[in-house]
């Protein structure tokens, strides 16, 4: 099931991961993450796309050790963090940070920004007070926040500034991996652009590995090297970011792509619109067979009974759909470039799509 064997370069190896909530005896078992496997290389930006209820945030929390898996596992640089004792896990987790969506909820309203940013070091017991402060100011500078912001309280600064401070705090313990869970969702578009640029710059400066979780296809495809599309606890498609977005091989990815409003009117005219019916089904009673069958525009009998197997259709592209080969055939007949995710290919496929 593993998408690639654990190798020396991977920062994260996720193998058949399950996270469940609730009690099976009371019939309220929710499989939030249900058999997910992937690897993230060191220095890679791995995007996870999904709607609310797809299990992407649960996955993110499990990746940094905030939730324990109920089955399968996560390896951090080849090490299983869930074998550690509590104090060991707490120490280990410092290198695996998570930044979440709502910066307002991430700060204690009674602490200044500086106090909040120093807190991880206080807890870790690293450095003297002066050293901690010095490091905090250095990190504020890295996220382009003026030093005078340090003594303000959270309510005195804007949402964008708070999110920057949030990132500065995550950087304080020199993490290897940062899980970014909907980090730009609450921000205006111009500030969102700033923030995405900041993430890209920090990644280069610190050699970070990101898992970038978002419902926004544009955001994820802009920043990521590879993306995984999640639906109802499972990954339905993984591959190079541009290839997955431009030529989806799973009907769900295709529908997501089509639901994204297009700004360029010529591109919008050329595109086929797919509007999915229905909503994400109830988590307590998941659909039989393929979980997407209740909303899938390509649904056939087999989908209702048999769960599709995930397979590699093109190098690095894994899809879980009974008819993925058929979709691949269609796209090849339409002459869409499927091979790569580089700019040239991608421009070519965009032109083709328009004609």
């Amino acid at each position: 099931m593993s998408l690639s064997a654990p190798s020396e370069q991977s920062a994260l190896d996720v193998d058949d991961l399950h996270v469940t909530f609730g009690n099976p005896r009371r019939g309220s078992l929710i499989r939030a993450v249900d058999g997910v496997s992937f690897s993230v290389r060191r220095g890679e930006i791995f995007g996870v796309i999904g709607e609310s209820g797809s299990g992407k945030s649960t996955l993110g929390r499990c990746l940094v050790g905030l939730l324990s898996p109920s089955g399968g596992g996560v390896l951090h640089d080849g090490i299983d963090p869930f074998r550690f004792s509590r104090p060991e896990l707490n120490r280990h987790r410092r290198k695996y940070q998570i930044v979440s969506q709502d910066p307002n909820a991430a700060f204690d309203p009674r602490m200044t920004i500086l106090q909040s940013i120093c807190e991880p070091l206080n807890i870790a017991g690293e450095g003297t007070r002066a050293e901690r402060r010095e490091k905090a100011f250095a990190m504020l500078d890295r996220v382009s926040l003026a030093a005078e912001m340090a003594n303000r309280y959270p309510h005195e600064i804007s949402g964008g500034q708070k999110q920057r401070a949030n990132i500065a705090r995550a950087l304080m313990l020199d993490p290897n991996v940062i899980v970014c869970d909907e980090v730009v969702a609450a921000l205006d578009v111009s500030i969102q652009a700033d923030m995405l640029n900041l993430f890209a710059r920090l990644q280069e400066q610190f050699g970070l590995t990101y898992v970038f979780i978002s419902h926004d296809l544009r955001v994820v495809s802009h920043i990521s090297d590879r993306v995984a599309v999640m639906y109802f606890g499972k990954i339905v498609e993984v591959g190079p970011a541009h290839a997955v977005i431009e030529t989806p091989l799973h009907p769900y990815t295709e529908a997501l792509r089509s639901a994204e409003p297009e700004i360029d009117p010529t591109a919008a005219d050329a595109r086929q619109r797919i509007i999915l019916q229905g909503e994400i089904p109830s988590a307590i009673a998941p659909p039989s067979g393929c979980r997407f069958h209740t909303r899938c525009p390509r649904v056939r009998d087999i989908c209702r009974t048999q769960e599709p197997r995930q397979r590699e259709l093109l190098p690095g592209r894994h899809v879980a759909c009974h008819f993925a080969e058929e979709m691949l055939g269609e796209k090849e007949r339409n002459g869409l470039g499927l091979a790569g995710g580089n700019g040239a290919d991608h421009a070519a496929s965009a032109t083709n799509a328009m004609t």
Partner: protein, 343 residues
Amino acid sequence: MQQLAETTMAGPDTLLDIQNLTLSLRDQSGWVEVLNNVSLSVKPKEILGVVGESGCGKSMTALSILRLLPPRDSRLGGKILFGGQNLVACSESQMNRIRGRHISMIFQEPMSALDPVFTVGYQIEETLQRHFKLDRREAAERAIAALDSVGIASPRHVATLYPMNLSGGMRQRVMIAMALVCEPRLLIADEPTTALDVTIQAQIMDLLLGLADRTGTAIMFITHNLGLVAQSCHRMVTMYAGQVVEGGPVRDVIAGPRHPYTAGLLHSIPDSNRARGTLPSIAGRVPSLRHMPKGCRFGPRCSYSMQPCELPQNIENEGIDDLDRREVRCNRWEELALRGVGA
């Protein structure tokens, strides 16, 4: 000022015609101007997009039209002509006859707009009974028909449910049913899909546009999502810091924006058709209401700002007829020749 008055000359076929609207609100430290000389118009059956960042006055314009601001702490100036009637001068009882009947509104967060202690069926009936002479049974039937028209699978059952029993997408469908049940002439939709997932957003937009088309309702569509505007609106206006800074047919504005702010919004959206790299962004943030720049309000954030920008900028407009008229509040738009998106 003279120039401004001219731009608001709208044709006789205009449904909503806002002329030099100003709004001031009062808080602990006194009065502050929130809207400054806002002029815009909506024609019958037209879909007008209003875009801008948070704090630009989009929602305040909407609340002013429906006069939903606290009367003691707000002051309106200028005119809001709706079918020839000036809403600024209307009494509260006149407004009550207009609200929900001729102009209705959908809010971003349906949970806060629906009453948690009444069933959704009852809330739609209430709207109907306020404006039409209907008995309870007739109203109930029409409420169920309205729920059916927004694609709710078992409307008879859903009518008996409370808002908390419904998902976000379903609540927004109920809001749309309620807003359109009286077949108003104007619907103000304030970020109606922002809280929803993208596949649900597509469903709701499709539904909203289809229904408005059938009932002949015009829509003033407030959003920060330029993609949605491109996809669904005929004309658009960009608002910045309480002013309209640009307006025109959607395709023209997107292909060739004239105000640097509109251009900045367009280019800061990540685009999968563009190679990965640094996204152009707009530096800084919307100025605080109490510290408005004297000249061009966008000046401090504008990368093209020069000395003449320190003077107040007037709306310049051109266009043969009303439909393709463009307006821009930037004195330098001609020399800037800003780049747009697409052809």
